[in-house]
Amino acid sequence: MTNSSPAGPIIALFAAIGRIAVGWLAAVGRTALFGVQTLRRGLTPPYYPNKLFEQLAHIGWFSLPVVGLTAVFTGAALAQQTFTAGTRFNATSTVPAIVVIGIVRELGPVLVGLMVAGRVSSAMAAELGTMRVTEQLDALTTLRTDPYRYLIAPRLLACVIALPLMVLVANAIGIFGGYLIAVYKLGFNATGYLRVTRQFLEWSDFGMALVKAGVFGFFIALMGCYHGFRAGGGAAGVGEATRDAVVSAFILILVSNLLITVMAFG
């Protein structure tokens, strides 16, 4: 190699770090451009309402079972844990409060986000990636239909609409899961439990949950579409795109969740 001076390895280390950093920044830039491009084109006609409804059904309706399942079990487990920990401090009465706050503020949005990311980001990346490698995206453009308007914009909008609705459902089911354990296993009084739940249920918390859900929905669709759109290299390329979509959607959901929480409560 050309670097034979003693500083060589150190420079090489910095160079490696620099390459990774530049690579990351380039990826962020490409993603941002992709998002801007989608917004710019998606906001101008032609619109495809039929595609939007199709996606809403795909993303929202068909994800409900898995979301409900996650919520009911998480709510129940949270109630049980809070109760177990609470017995040590003689504070078992906090169970309904902690369940409602925990579910509405954090667990509901984040778990729905992650579940839907696993289900939807991957499916979008695989579908669009396959369309890329089989030249269907080129065919679409050649047939004078803009893939951003026809494929990407409906997916983004559908996710931004569907996620908050799903979080509403998940929050209700999650609270109900906690209620089930508390009342039927831990011996809470049903009326009392619900009264405390209602007391700690803040509309502002719901508002924040919905904002989070909208942001997560945007990232889920953006990552699925971006990685699918850029897929290349046959089946292996589609596989990579799918994996990258899910991983990056997870990271963005977790990071943005923290940022929103810190901004709201910090």
């Binding site: 032609p46 495809y48 039929n50 595609k51 369309m131 089989t134 030249e135 269907q136 080129d138 065919a139 679409l140 453009t141 050649t142 047939l143 004078r144 239909t145 803009d146 026809y150």
Partner: protein
């Protein structure tokens, strides 16, 4: 060629990283002409077509369609120019989420769900041209054989009656009889519709049948272009080796 060429390429170049795929391709295609482009796999034939369609932006050179330079057009103007084109992709590139009849009429509906009855009639009419019956109308592309997919894709390409049609390996993967049906179809499209056709192929029988002229692309350049009758007497060692399919020769 006294008239303005339908398609005119001048010094078209495109590189992917260090790989120079097109290196100064110049070519003029007259209206109503059928040109066949031959060349090895990976010699840039598909890239050339995709540059003309505006799917890939060339690094240098110009592309003129009916005398209009399209290399620097906005997305909206490019969409207008694309109305002149029909393209048969190598693998068909049918939309697998849509039934056959929606695929065939996609250039007309452009993704909207409108006038189903009329579109089905149009689809049927175009499918008939490629030798497919109405029983495939409601099938999904994945339910068709490879050859049928290719014919549906062909029906989709010709449905809007384009002025220019590109065929990317139209006979690859078809049995010799089906391949000849496609050859006849391409010939009749050029003759009946007066369309200008550019066909990429490795199939010499097909090239001889459908082409008025043949161009050979080698290492990013057009190394030979001439009437199809001279294809076997080109005197060009590269062309000779390619058309005779010999492993030894200047191309390796």
């Amino acid at each position: 060629m006294s008239a303005v060429p339908k398609i005119e390429l001048d010094g078209l170049s495109k590189a992917f990283g260090a790989n120079r795929v097109l290196d100064g391709v110049s070519l003029a295609i007259a209206p109503g002409e059928s040109l066949t482009v031959i060349g090895q796999s990976g010699s840039g034939k598909s890239v050339m077509l995709k540059c003309i369609l505006g799917l890939i932006r060339p690094d240098a050179g110009s592309i003129r369609i009916d005398g209009e330079d399209i290399t620097r057009l906005s997305e909206r103007d490019m969409a207008r120019v694309r109305a002149k084109f029909g393209m048969l992709f190598q693998g068909g590139a049918l939309f697998d989420s849509l039934p056959v009849w929606r695929n065939v009429t996609f250039a007309l509906t452009r993704g909207r769900n409108r006038s189903a009855a009329r579109m089905k009639a149009i689809a049927e009419e175009n499918l008939e041209k490629v030798g497919l019956g109405r029983q495939v109308l409601n099938l999904r592309p994945s339910e068709l054989s490879g050859g049928m997919q290719k014919r549906v894709a062909l029906a989709r390409a010709i449905a809007p009656r384009p002025e220019i049609i590109f065929f990317d390996e139209p006979t690859t993967g078809l049995d010799p009889i089906r391949a000849d049906v496609i050859n006849d179809l391409i010939t009749s499209l050029v003759e009946d519709l007066g369309a200008t056709a550019v066909t990429i192929t490795h199939d010499m029988a097909s090239a001889r049948k459908i082409a008025h002229r043949v161009a050979m692309l080698y290492q990013g350049e057009i190394i030979w272009c001439g009437p199809r009758d001279q294809l076997y007497e080109s005197g060009n060692p590269y062309v000779d080796q390619f058309v005779q399919g010999r492993a030894d020769g200047p191309i390796r």
